[in-house]
Subunit: 472 residues, 3 copies
């Protein structure tokens, strides 16, 4: 039997010759390189406890905001998909019922990266070649369910079979890193690493900010009511995270704004936040100042700083009130990197020890801001296409617009940035195929030699991520 289209060996390569053949020839050089996943959101308990995944729905449907949002957009109810409500009212608990609904609407995903990732995962992890549909829903559910009971689908076995050399999780500043402690005992740290994401104590728009800062003080023994104490608390916490393999920090911010205030204004701002009297612009200024502080700490300790800017979170207040965050209602906004990062870069942009990787959701900045900035500042690199743009067309728009000005060596390679463990090989495979697609076209246009294209393909598929994140 021939393979279905979605698993065709040439998928995503250029449609026409000679670029197709060139891409096909480049691909073997990158296909089996180990996976380096320096930024993502997998659950560290999986690796610490190595327990089985509960069921197909909990694996593929309920935690995947890309999938949920598409189903909702065509009228499905989150209750029927088993998404818990804050008010405790019952939602669908039968995984199979939700799975059938999903299968019934699987045609909605035609052309989306979600379908690419799921199809790839079903094949790669479960040997399933047929497409999900109402007719195959139960058969596929049963096949997955049975396989999940076997040792080769345990989290650590998946890391092995996917050849994951390094994977970073992301934890908030207050996280005790319990699971990483357990992994430390088992010698897993280094392969699994945490990442310091202090949004819980740097973003005053969080309702629990004061409580969080109090916990931060307890955890570090610092007086966080004084600006220097607050910074010192971060300094200590970053050190603690590094013990568990952290090479990077991560900052999720609505804008890329940074500030570099005089000490007295910083203290006044902190006072306001701690007294709960801050408004939205105070919150923005506090976040802005904290980004600069984090950059200065990176200059000290060498941790790579990541800024994920430009998402407007929770744009549906009804959903937020009903079920909380991360369920599909976050939408990108325009981002000004040049103006936003001015304060930070003016302060420490030329420091040799600073490495700042920029991610964005406003593609208009690729050629206008990000590539020109990364092509100048030694501290800046451009992260791969993020979120909605982590897709074949998104990757094409990215390469189209960044390479000529930033070159290949100011790019940070690939991040899968996922909470879906099984999608990791799928996502890296899409990236690698798109790298071959892009380079295949350029070789066919005589813009690169085949041998330099192969070097670049390998770099972008593997080494770039290690270099960018200072992973030895």
């Amino acid at each position: 039997m021939t393979q279905p289209a979605h698993l065709h060996a040439d998928r995503l390569f250029p449609a026409s010759e000679p670029a197709r053949s060139i891409a096909r020839e480049l691909y073997p050089a990158v296909k089996d390189l180990p996976i380096v996943s320096p930024h993502g959101h997998t659950d560290p308990s999986w690796f610490a406890q190595n327990g089985r995944f509960s069921n197909p729905t909990a694996l593929f449907l309920t935690p995947d905001h890309y999938v949920l949002r598409m189903l909702r957009s065509r009228g499905l109810d989150y209750d029927d998909l088993g998404i818990p409500r804050k008010d405790g009212k019952p939602v669908e608990t039968d995984g199979r019922a939700a799975w059938r609904l999903f299968a019934q609407h699987y045609h909605l995903f035609a052309g989306t990266p979600s379908k690419t990732w799921i199809d790839h995962s079903l094949h790669w992890a479960f040997g399933i070649d047929e497409e999900l549909s109402p007719a195959t829903a139960d058969r596929i559910y049963d096949a997955i369910d049975a396989a999940l009971a076997t040792p080769r689908l345990l989290p650590r076995a998946i890391l092995d079979s996917a050849d994951v050399e390094v994977i970073a999780t992301t934890e908030f500043a207050l996280d005790p890193l319990t699971h990483h402690q357990a992994m430390e005992g088992e010698g897993l740290i280094g392969r699994v690493r945490t990442t310091y994401r202090p949004d819980d104590v740097t973003d005053p728009s969080r309702p629990a900010i004061i409580e969080n800062l109090e916990k931060f003080a307890e955890l570090t023994g610092e007086d966080v009511a004084r600006w220097d104490g607050l910074i010192n608390a971060h300094r200590k916490r970053r050190e603690y995270f590094r013990r568990f393999g952290a090479v990077a920090t991560d900052h999720g911010v609505p804008t890329a704004n940074t500030a570099d205030l005089p000490r007295v204004e910083k203290q006044a701002l902190l006072d306001k936040v701690l007294s709960g009297r801050h408004d939205a612009s105070d919150a923005e200024l506090f976040r802005a100042q904290m980004l600069t502080e984090m950059a200065l700490l990176s200059v000290e300790d060498g941790m790579v700083m990541q800024i994920h800017a430009g998402s407007r979170r929770n744009t549906d207040p009804a959903l937020f009130a009903e079920r909380g965050t991360d369920l599909g209602a976050d939408i990108p906004r325009t981002t000004d990197y040049v103006g936003g990062l001015d304060a930070l870069l003016s302060r420490c942009g030329n420091e040799p020890n600073l490495r700042l990787i920029l991610f964005g959701l406003d593609e208009t900045t690729y050629a206008r801001e990000l590539a020109p900035m990364a092509g100048y500042w030694s501290s800046l690199m451009i992260g791969p296409p993020w979120w909605f743009h982590d897709s074949p067309q998104g990757i094409r728009r990215y390469f189209d617009q960044v390479v000529e000005t930033a070159g290949f060596y100011n790019l940070a390679g690939f991040n899968d940035d996922t909470r879906a463990l099984l999608s990791i090989p799928a996502r890296h495979d899409v990236w690698r195929r798109e790298v071959c697609h892009f380079l295949g076209n350029w070789v066919a246009e005589h813009r690169l030699t085949r041998s330099s294209a192969e070097d670049i393909a390998r770099h972008l598929s593997y080494q770039a991520a290690k270099d960018a994140y200072k992973i030895a």
Copy 2:
């Protein structure tokens, strides 16, 4: 004799194999589907009266702002093209003289959709294969003129020969719908439908706004000086429009801003408008509030709401003073859909009965805002590329940027949005060829199967418009 390039059977299909052949094979499945035209600006008197079109210039040149603006941009004078002046000074009245000027400059249209539409119309309606040029100007003029005297070029015959299943016109709230009344008597309503476009009574920047609101009160018997009365007037008028087939409302607004004010502020705003004391920001706020009111009425009555946002109208004050509106001086602007629609969507974005189709002129929003929003909200769909972007490259940029996040089923199919009756088949044909172009490439890259591509092609060419506009 071989056909000229502009009528080649493969035009607009991908240049290279194998995608070209795939597109060529998909095209027959969509080529002859009936035309559904749910949004446009044809003149209802044409269908009501079924009279002959006066002459070639009045058909192709004088009413087409795309054509006029290009000629003006290269130095031609609107006087010489026969565009009337407000001051009554004489302009060219000899249709043939203006036509010759047009023909003499027809090379300026190389590469523009205007040329594609005109070439297609000349061939489709008049059997003319040769290109318009100074040498052919008179011959083509005479051929068109002669044909216009024949029954097969009467408006209703054109609807038949173009296989138009449904066509919507657009009328302002104060329009008596005289022509639709006439059509009602002849059983034409359903095939021809009106659309409720209340800009004349919702946009305080119109000089006649107070007078218009007074007429609105008379027409509906409502006290439009009270907010509830004003809304009730709309409620009645929408019902009246539905009697003449209206399934949709349409809103032409400079921005996508919406508001959801407390009742007292709404009344105060209305008081200001009615007293003529409003400024530009009051006008913006009034429009913003009215969009939310229209959405709430759509929740009630199920009419599909269309927002056409982002045109800066009448950017040449000299032209406006001299000859009025819609003559080529409207230019797009940036649009913020996420921030703009926040009030409306927070109020009723999850209502199952709301259907809101978004059109825009700021392509940067495709991947950043429109696709993520339509891929979340059940009420939102994305309209096809509009105005300057209704072109082969414009359609390619659209598919490139919306499909991966919104999928195919959150798209509203095609709108020709034209006042040029003969361009309707041309415009739908470009869309269908571009659908095949896009899908041909994706099948060639093994991203879709050929059979799902054919389903999607049919959907986007026909059914999507019917579904989006709730046309049974």
Copy 3:
């Protein structure tokens, strides 16, 4: 021996047939057309004095901000590249040492237009086919150095061998045009032309603005403290520049903002500037008003006005303090042409004698603003892709987004805009190849006939620039 990839005869043509063959067939029609270079920054002393270029590093490395910024972005120190410091501290003075550093990092330029230009120049001017690398660094350095001593590498010989028909330099308003005076005596004016760039006396953000305006008064004998005197000074100076072949003015502005103030406000603004009491918004308003004044003078004297808008200059204050301007730290910003140019266009946009060529760094404006504006106003044309966007992908994005709305005849052809003499043939060749690339694809899609494509290719490669700049 076969040619290396970077010199392949088909480079930059479409990768696939039949478009590749069509492009290959179009190219001979444009390849050897004379070069018209109506805007650029070559040094007029080269042509006036016709002296030899000092050494390879001074020719290719030190003056090229594209090259310098990329090397800096990967951690190289400007000291080691021989970039002078304001504080006089020593920097590398050995050209060969800096050249070796450059060669060692030449792989960073893979995929950049810099590499394309340099590779082309090395081949075209020096017959060097091998790639720059650590292994070839000295051999290439020696070959260049030897050739620079020969007559065929003198500046005027380069103009001849590159078949440069016209080249414009750019001088500030206070420039005495000494070198152009010398050229006048030798009959070179006409082939070499100056351009009037009055930023030194129109931009109050320049530290020396008051001093400059005083010099401007001396030079012209006008009382520049009165608005009319200031304008008259420009009027005289423009006349002086025209004596040295100037057909155009050029305006480098952070935004496209224009103003049309009443006389009393203009005088008040000038008073403020002359007294040194202006702030940033006064400076912006002064620049804005001056753009309108320049347009009015163009209406008088017929000089073509160029606006290069959207660069945020000197974004790294440390670099600026250390070494000055034009060293890679200028980064694009968003630009609003519709709102910005409103005052100017409302004042004189319909004047038949006005020709305004717009250049930008915000590609989002191509389809949204620039093409719609140029497709309406008879005074407006769109300049070619500028700066970071003067690259193969940049040119593709440009054609993709401007042609359908502006047509081909509202485009101003090509500008190389360079200070690197040897890159001129390279840059024009890239443009011409990309023109053939674009047209080859459109002919292959049956959107243009081959013969009209050839006409358009010739126009865009040669005549468009002469027409746009009114060069007889």
